[in-house]
Assembly symmetry: C2
Homo-oligomer: 138 residues x 2
DNA sequence: CTATAAAAAGACAAAAAAGGTCCTTTAGGT
DNA sequence: ACCTAAAGGACCTTTTTTGTCTTTTTATAG
Protein backbone atom coordinates (compact mmCIF):
# COMPACT_ATOMS: atom_id res chain seq x y z
CA UNK A 1 0.00 0.00 0.00
CA UNK A 2 0.90 3.71 -0.06
CA UNK A 3 2.61 3.11 -3.36
CA UNK A 4 3.92 5.72 -5.72
CA UNK A 5 2.37 5.22 -9.15
CA UNK A 6 4.37 4.70 -12.29
CA UNK A 7 3.45 8.23 -13.28
CA UNK A 8 5.19 9.50 -10.17
CA UNK A 9 8.29 7.48 -10.95
CA UNK A 10 8.35 8.72 -14.52
CA UNK A 11 7.95 12.27 -13.29
CA UNK A 12 11.02 11.92 -11.11
CA UNK A 13 13.08 10.39 -13.90
CA UNK A 14 12.01 13.11 -16.28
CA UNK A 15 12.86 15.97 -14.01
CA UNK A 16 16.17 14.39 -13.08
CA UNK A 17 17.07 14.33 -16.75
CA UNK A 18 16.29 18.00 -17.04
CA UNK A 19 18.25 18.74 -13.88
CA UNK A 20 21.32 17.10 -15.41
CA UNK A 21 21.26 19.22 -18.55
CA UNK A 22 23.33 22.35 -18.85
CA UNK A 23 21.55 25.38 -17.48
CA UNK A 24 19.15 26.88 -19.98
CA UNK A 25 19.42 24.12 -22.56
CA UNK A 26 16.09 22.99 -24.00
CA UNK A 27 15.21 19.28 -24.24
CA UNK A 28 12.59 17.69 -26.44
CA UNK A 29 9.98 15.29 -25.11
CA UNK A 30 11.37 12.55 -27.31
CA UNK A 31 14.87 13.11 -26.06
CA UNK A 32 13.88 13.01 -22.38
CA UNK A 33 11.67 10.00 -22.95
CA UNK A 34 14.37 8.02 -24.70
CA UNK A 35 17.00 8.88 -22.13
CA UNK A 36 14.88 8.09 -19.11
CA UNK A 37 13.02 5.08 -20.49
CA UNK A 38 9.53 6.52 -20.34
CA UNK A 39 6.82 6.21 -23.03
CA UNK A 40 7.01 9.42 -24.99
CA UNK A 41 3.34 10.37 -25.14
CA UNK A 42 2.90 9.60 -21.49
CA UNK A 43 5.86 11.74 -20.57
CA UNK A 44 4.38 14.55 -22.64
CA UNK A 45 1.41 14.61 -20.26
CA UNK A 46 3.69 14.63 -17.27
CA UNK A 47 5.65 17.55 -18.66
CA UNK A 48 2.39 19.38 -19.21
CA UNK A 49 1.62 18.89 -15.53
CA UNK A 50 5.02 20.31 -14.68
CA UNK A 51 4.42 23.36 -16.85
CA UNK A 52 1.02 23.97 -15.30
CA UNK A 53 2.46 24.21 -11.80
CA UNK A 54 5.44 26.20 -13.02
CA UNK A 55 8.17 23.65 -12.45
CA UNK A 56 9.38 23.77 -16.02
CA UNK A 57 9.25 26.19 -18.92
CA UNK A 58 8.01 24.96 -22.26
CA UNK A 59 8.59 26.48 -25.69
CA UNK A 60 6.81 25.51 -28.87
CA UNK A 61 7.92 25.46 -32.42
CA UNK A 62 11.33 25.02 -33.96
CA UNK A 63 14.04 25.09 -31.36
CA UNK A 64 11.46 24.58 -28.64
CA UNK A 65 11.49 22.11 -25.79
CA UNK A 66 11.53 22.03 -22.02
CA UNK A 67 13.81 23.34 -19.33
CA UNK A 68 13.57 23.70 -15.57
CA UNK A 69 11.92 26.88 -14.44
CA UNK A 70 14.14 26.99 -11.36
CA UNK A 71 17.56 25.71 -10.43
CA UNK A 72 17.45 22.10 -9.22
CA UNK A 73 18.31 23.08 -5.66
CA UNK A 74 15.06 25.00 -5.45
CA UNK A 75 12.80 22.17 -6.59
CA UNK A 76 11.75 19.67 -3.96
CA UNK A 77 10.78 16.07 -4.42
CA UNK A 78 7.41 16.90 -2.95
CA UNK A 79 6.68 19.43 -5.68
CA UNK A 80 7.54 16.91 -8.37
CA UNK A 81 5.40 14.16 -6.92
CA UNK A 82 2.45 16.40 -6.13
CA UNK A 83 2.59 17.99 -9.58
CA UNK A 84 1.55 14.71 -11.17
CA UNK A 85 -0.21 12.85 -8.38
CA UNK A 86 -2.00 15.61 -6.56
CA UNK A 87 -1.65 16.50 -2.91
CA UNK A 88 -0.44 13.91 -0.44
CA UNK A 89 -3.53 12.73 1.38
CA UNK A 90 -3.25 9.35 3.04
CA UNK A 91 -6.92 9.35 3.99
CA UNK A 92 -10.08 10.76 2.51
CA UNK A 93 -10.92 12.22 5.93
CA UNK A 94 -8.35 14.92 5.42
CA UNK A 95 -9.86 16.26 2.23
CA UNK A 96 -12.74 18.25 3.60
CA UNK A 97 -15.06 18.71 6.55
CA UNK A 98 -18.10 16.79 5.35
CA UNK A 99 -16.25 13.74 4.10
CA UNK A 100 -15.56 12.37 7.58
CA UNK A 101 -18.89 12.15 9.35
CA UNK A 102 -17.08 11.32 12.56
CA UNK A 103 -15.25 14.63 12.42
CA UNK A 104 -14.01 15.63 15.86
CA UNK A 105 -14.90 12.28 17.36
CA UNK A 106 -12.92 10.46 14.67
CA UNK A 107 -9.77 9.47 16.48
CA UNK A 108 -8.17 7.99 13.37
CA UNK A 109 -8.19 11.38 11.69
CA UNK A 110 -5.28 12.95 13.60
CA UNK A 111 -3.15 9.88 12.96
CA UNK A 112 -3.42 10.31 9.20
CA UNK A 113 -2.71 13.97 9.62
CA UNK A 114 0.53 13.08 11.36
CA UNK A 115 1.38 10.65 8.59
CA UNK A 116 0.78 13.26 5.93
CA UNK A 117 2.81 15.86 7.78
CA UNK A 118 5.74 13.49 8.14
CA UNK A 119 5.73 12.51 4.48
CA UNK A 120 5.47 16.12 3.40
CA UNK A 121 8.34 17.07 5.67
CA UNK A 122 10.57 14.36 4.29
CA UNK A 123 9.78 15.05 0.65
CA UNK A 124 10.09 18.78 1.16
CA UNK A 125 13.54 18.23 2.58
CA UNK A 126 14.88 16.60 -0.57
CA UNK A 127 15.79 18.70 -3.59
CA UNK A 128 16.17 17.28 -7.03
CA UNK A 129 19.69 18.63 -7.08
CA UNK A 130 20.54 16.19 -4.31
CA UNK A 131 18.88 13.41 -6.24
CA UNK A 132 20.52 14.24 -9.54
CA UNK A 133 23.92 13.77 -7.94
CA UNK A 134 27.28 13.82 -9.71
CA UNK A 135 27.59 17.15 -11.45
CA UNK A 136 27.69 19.22 -8.29
CA UNK A 137 30.45 17.75 -6.08
CA UNK A 138 29.61 18.56 -2.47
CA UNK B 1 -1.84 10.10 -3.54
CA UNK B 2 -0.73 7.74 -0.79
CA UNK B 3 -4.35 7.06 -0.08
CA UNK B 4 -5.76 4.42 2.18
CA UNK B 5 -8.23 2.29 0.24
CA UNK B 6 -11.81 1.78 1.26
CA UNK B 7 -10.87 -1.70 2.34
CA UNK B 8 -8.42 -0.24 4.80
CA UNK B 9 -11.04 2.10 6.19
CA UNK B 10 -13.53 -0.72 6.53
CA UNK B 11 -10.92 -2.81 8.28
CA UNK B 12 -10.41 -0.10 10.88
CA UNK B 13 -14.12 0.35 11.41
CA UNK B 14 -14.61 -3.37 11.76
CA UNK B 15 -11.88 -3.90 14.30
CA UNK B 16 -12.99 -0.87 16.27
CA UNK B 17 -16.42 -2.43 16.57
CA UNK B 18 -14.88 -5.61 17.92
CA UNK B 19 -12.71 -3.61 20.29
CA UNK B 20 -15.79 -1.98 21.77
CA UNK B 21 -17.53 -5.26 22.54
CA UNK B 22 -17.31 -6.87 25.95
CA UNK B 23 -14.26 -9.07 26.28
CA UNK B 24 -14.82 -12.54 24.83
CA UNK B 25 -18.19 -11.78 23.25
CA UNK B 26 -18.61 -13.12 19.71
CA UNK B 27 -19.97 -10.90 16.94
CA UNK B 28 -21.48 -12.00 13.64
CA UNK B 29 -20.33 -10.58 10.32
CA UNK B 30 -23.81 -9.20 9.71
CA UNK B 31 -23.85 -7.50 13.08
CA UNK B 32 -20.45 -5.85 12.60
CA UNK B 33 -21.30 -4.85 9.06
CA UNK B 34 -24.58 -3.23 10.02
CA UNK B 35 -23.08 -1.39 12.97
CA UNK B 36 -20.09 -0.06 11.10
CA UNK B 37 -21.75 0.64 7.75
CA UNK B 38 -19.70 -1.77 5.69
CA UNK B 39 -21.04 -4.10 2.98
CA UNK B 40 -21.48 -7.45 4.67
CA UNK B 41 -19.82 -9.71 2.12
CA UNK B 42 -16.90 -7.38 1.75
CA UNK B 43 -16.41 -7.23 5.47
CA UNK B 44 -16.44 -11.01 5.54
CA UNK B 45 -13.31 -11.01 3.39
CA UNK B 46 -11.67 -8.46 5.61
CA UNK B 47 -12.41 -10.54 8.68
CA UNK B 48 -10.89 -13.52 6.92
CA UNK B 49 -7.73 -11.49 6.43
CA UNK B 50 -7.74 -10.66 10.11
CA UNK B 51 -8.10 -14.30 11.03
CA UNK B 52 -5.26 -15.33 8.74
CA UNK B 53 -2.81 -13.01 10.45
CA UNK B 54 -4.14 -13.90 13.86
CA UNK B 55 -5.72 -10.60 14.78
CA UNK B 56 -9.11 -12.14 15.47
CA UNK B 57 -10.50 -15.53 16.37
CA UNK B 58 -13.31 -16.96 14.29
CA UNK B 59 -15.76 -19.69 15.22
CA UNK B 60 -18.12 -21.43 12.83
CA UNK B 61 -21.56 -22.84 13.31
CA UNK B 62 -24.28 -21.95 15.74
CA UNK B 63 -23.11 -19.50 18.35
CA UNK B 64 -20.08 -18.73 16.24
CA UNK B 65 -18.70 -15.35 15.22
CA UNK B 66 -15.61 -13.23 15.62
CA UNK B 67 -13.71 -11.79 18.53
CA UNK B 68 -10.36 -10.10 18.95
CA UNK B 69 -7.49 -12.50 19.45
CA UNK B 70 -5.72 -9.98 21.69
CA UNK B 71 -6.75 -7.14 23.91
CA UNK B 72 -7.17 -3.87 21.96
CA UNK B 73 -4.13 -2.31 23.62
CA UNK B 74 -1.95 -4.94 22.00
CA UNK B 75 -3.17 -4.42 18.44
CA UNK B 76 -1.59 -1.59 16.51
CA UNK B 77 -3.07 0.39 13.67
CA UNK B 78 -0.25 -0.81 11.49
CA UNK B 79 -1.22 -4.43 11.97
CA UNK B 80 -4.80 -3.72 11.02
CA UNK B 81 -3.90 -1.80 7.89
CA UNK B 82 -1.22 -4.22 6.76
CA UNK B 83 -3.51 -7.19 7.37
CA UNK B 84 -5.76 -6.08 4.55
CA UNK B 85 -3.52 -3.94 2.38
CA UNK B 86 -0.21 -5.70 2.61
CA UNK B 87 3.06 -4.21 3.76
CA UNK B 88 3.60 -0.47 3.60
CA UNK B 89 5.81 0.12 0.58
CA UNK B 90 5.69 3.61 -0.86
CA UNK B 91 7.89 2.62 -3.77
CA UNK B 92 8.45 -0.54 -5.78
CA UNK B 93 12.20 -0.07 -5.32
CA UNK B 94 11.92 -1.26 -1.76
CA UNK B 95 10.40 -4.62 -2.59
CA UNK B 96 13.45 -6.49 -3.80
CA UNK B 97 16.94 -6.13 -5.13
CA UNK B 98 16.34 -6.62 -8.84
CA UNK B 99 13.33 -4.36 -9.13
CA UNK B 100 15.35 -1.16 -8.94
CA UNK B 101 18.01 -1.40 -11.61
CA UNK B 102 19.64 1.72 -10.26
CA UNK B 103 20.19 0.02 -6.92
CA UNK B 104 23.00 1.70 -5.01
CA UNK B 105 23.18 4.59 -7.43
CA UNK B 106 19.45 5.25 -7.05
CA UNK B 107 19.36 8.24 -4.77
CA UNK B 108 15.59 8.27 -4.56
CA UNK B 109 15.59 4.87 -2.92
CA UNK B 110 16.72 5.95 0.57
CA UNK B 111 14.13 8.70 0.59
CA UNK B 112 11.30 6.22 0.19
CA UNK B 113 12.84 4.07 2.83
CA UNK B 114 12.72 6.98 5.24
CA UNK B 115 9.10 7.61 4.31
CA UNK B 116 8.19 4.00 4.93
CA UNK B 117 10.00 3.92 8.25
CA UNK B 118 8.23 7.05 9.42
CA UNK B 119 4.80 5.77 8.48
CA UNK B 120 5.47 2.44 10.11
CA UNK B 121 6.67 4.15 13.28
CA UNK B 122 3.58 6.31 13.50
CA UNK B 123 1.13 3.49 12.82
CA UNK B 124 2.94 1.17 15.19
CA UNK B 125 2.58 3.76 17.90
CA UNK B 126 -1.19 3.80 17.79
CA UNK B 127 -3.21 0.99 19.36
CA UNK B 128 -6.79 0.32 18.50
CA UNK B 129 -7.63 0.74 22.17
CA UNK B 130 -6.62 4.38 21.84
CA UNK B 131 -8.72 4.69 18.72
CA UNK B 132 -11.75 2.95 20.18
CA UNK B 133 -11.87 5.58 22.92
CA UNK B 134 -14.56 5.97 25.58
CA UNK B 135 -14.62 2.72 27.51
CA UNK B 136 -11.17 3.17 29.03
CA UNK B 137 -11.09 6.62 30.66
CA UNK B 138 -7.46 7.73 30.66
C1' DC C 1 -27.57 -38.52 11.95
C1' DT C 2 -29.93 -34.74 10.17
C1' DA C 3 -31.05 -30.02 10.10
C1' DT C 4 -29.31 -25.59 10.91
C1' DA C 5 -26.00 -21.93 11.62
C1' DA C 6 -22.05 -19.49 10.47
C1' DA C 7 -17.48 -18.79 8.60
C1' DA C 8 -14.15 -20.19 4.54
C1' DA C 9 -13.15 -20.43 -0.12
C1' DG C 10 -13.45 -19.28 -4.60
C1' DA C 11 -15.58 -17.76 -8.91
C1' DC C 12 -17.46 -13.95 -10.93
C1' DA C 13 -18.58 -8.99 -12.20
C1' DA C 14 -19.07 -3.95 -12.18
C1' DA C 15 -16.72 0.35 -11.48
C1' DA C 16 -12.85 3.07 -11.04
C1' DA C 17 -8.10 4.15 -11.67
C1' DA C 18 -3.73 3.58 -13.97
C1' DG C 19 -1.20 3.44 -18.00
C1' DG C 20 -0.85 4.62 -22.48
C1' DT C 21 -1.97 5.99 -27.56
C1' DC C 22 -3.48 8.97 -31.21
C1' DC C 23 -5.27 12.94 -33.48
C1' DT C 24 -6.21 17.74 -33.82
C1' DT C 25 -5.11 22.37 -32.43
C1' DT C 26 -2.20 26.12 -31.19
C1' DA C 27 2.04 28.72 -31.04
C1' DG C 28 6.47 29.75 -32.74
C1' DG C 29 10.31 29.81 -36.16
C1' DT C 30 12.21 29.89 -41.17
C1' DA D 1 3.22 29.33 -46.49
C1' DC D 2 5.49 25.64 -44.25
C1' DC D 3 7.66 23.16 -40.77
C1' DT D 4 8.37 22.09 -35.78
C1' DA D 5 7.13 21.09 -31.28
C1' DA D 6 4.14 21.49 -27.34
C1' DA D 7 -1.06 21.63 -25.73
C1' DG D 8 -5.33 19.62 -25.47
C1' DG D 9 -8.57 16.21 -25.78
C1' DA D 10 -10.65 11.84 -27.15
C1' DC D 11 -10.00 7.31 -26.80
C1' DC D 12 -8.50 2.69 -25.45
C1' DT D 13 -6.45 -1.23 -22.61
C1' DT D 14 -5.08 -3.22 -18.44
C1' DT D 15 -5.08 -3.48 -13.61
C1' DT D 16 -6.98 -2.67 -9.18
C1' DT D 17 -10.72 -1.83 -6.29
C1' DT D 18 -14.98 -2.95 -4.64
C1' DG D 19 -17.91 -5.62 -4.38
C1' DT D 20 -21.56 -10.12 -5.05
C1' DC D 21 -22.92 -14.92 -5.25
C1' DT D 22 -22.49 -19.81 -4.73
C1' DT D 23 -20.54 -23.73 -2.78
C1' DT D 24 -17.97 -25.92 0.84
C1' DT D 25 -16.46 -26.75 5.39
C1' DT D 26 -17.00 -26.81 10.33
C1' DA D 27 -19.62 -26.71 14.39
C1' DT D 28 -23.82 -27.00 17.21
C1' DA D 29 -28.61 -28.50 18.44
C1' DG D 30 -32.21 -31.50 18.36
Amino acid sequence: MMELTRKGEYAIRGILYLARQPQGKLSLVGEIAAASGVPKTFLAKILQDFTKVGLVYSFRGTGGGFSLARTPDRITLREVVEAVEGPILPNRCLIGAGSCENDSSCLVHPVWKRVRDEIVTILDGVTIEELAGEDHPT
